[in-house]
């Protein structure tokens, strides 16, 4: 038989492993969503560069596919009976995020196309950073690296901003998502 100190140490060990498993599952599911968004925005920037007048349509399509894909991944993530509620919360979060973003950029701010191009990715990265405070440092690393690259692009990319954004925003999300899977 063991004493209460040894029993307490064993329970602490169990709690540590359970915490690691939960963290790992969050990273596995989130990384799929992040890589998918990375690929989508990469294509979106290239399409926007190729057909500039179609910008709003292109980004509306990218967002719709991304939101539907994120919800599908959340719903079929294998997190158990709570998957449906998780997917619903994700949909509400996306709707609030978009509504607030539109209000800031179009109603309060009247941003031009160049500002719009960097506002949405930076706004997204803010949420990644906030998510990182609860779900793990990987989200914060991805948010900080992407944000730094996006701000650099805004000031220095000139007319090649869309191409630069395809690489630094889309590329950072894809690489960040793949890195997250390996942690």
């Amino acid at each position: 038989m063991i004493d209460s100190q040894q029993a307490s140490a064993a329970l602490n060990d169990i709690n540590d492993v359970v915490h690691r498993v939960r963290q790992s599952r969050i990273y596995q599911n989130a990384s799929l969503i992040i890589v998918m968004w990375g690929a989508l925005v990469f294509v979106g920037y290239l399409a926007n560069y190729t057909w500039p007048p179609q910008g709003y349509t292109i980004w509306a399509v990218v967002d719709l596919i991304g939101i539907a894909g994120s919800i599908a991944i959340a719903a079929f993530s294998g997190i158990g009976p709570g998957a449906g509620a998780y997917a619903l919360r994700l949909l509400v979060a996306f709707l609030l995020f978009i509504a607030f973003g539109i209000f800031c950029s179009a109603v309060l701010g009247h941003f031009g196309p160049r500002q719009m191009l960097v506002f949405w990715p930076l706004f997204t990265m803010l949420f990644y950073a906030l998510a990182g405070l609860w779900f793990g440092y990987a989200f914060i690393v991805i948010a900080l690296c992407s944000s730094a690259l996006i701000v650099t692009a805004y000031f220095y990319a000139g007319p090649a901003l869309l191409l630069w954004m395809a690489v630094v925003h889309g590329g950072a999300l894809i690489l960040g998502g793949l890195w997250m899977r390996r942690i």
């Binding site: 038989m1 063991i2 004493d3 209460s4 029993a7 307490s8 064993a10 329970l11 060990d13 169990i14 492993v17 359970v18 690691r20 498993v21 939960r22 790992s24 599952r25 294998g78 997190i79 158990g80 009976p81």
Partner: protein
């Protein structure tokens, strides 16, 4: 008086069972991920998984994904029950209900 499960009580086997028990039923963990989560070495992990499998606490599924072999370990219903009882016993010891 409940007894500690001697098979589960070994520290690495306790970590393995804790990791598998944290997943939804019938969801398993790939060997490499389990190794990372428990901090075990290849040989060590393999030996302890075998002990747990012999006791009927885990099921081991070996398959090929492309050309790479992949081993997935899943807690059985018996393993989940034994782990839950083991944790309850640990809690009783801490609460002073057991000597």
């Amino acid at each position: 008086m409940a007894e500690l499960d001697e098979i589960i009580h070994q520290p690495l086997r306790l970590r393995i069972m804790a990791a598998l028990h944290a997943l939804p039923a019938s969801t398993g963990l790939e060997f490499a991920r389990l190794k990372k989560l428990t901090g075990a070495t290849d040989g060590n992990l393999g030996a302890h998984i075998e002990t747990l499998a012999r006791a009927g606490y885990v099921a081991v599924d070996k398959a090929f994904v492309g050309k790479k072999p992949q081993t997935t370990v899943t807690a059985t219903a018996a393993g989940r029950g034994a782990f839950a009882r083991h944790v309850a016993t640990l809690q009783e010891i801490i609460a002073g209900k057991q000597p």
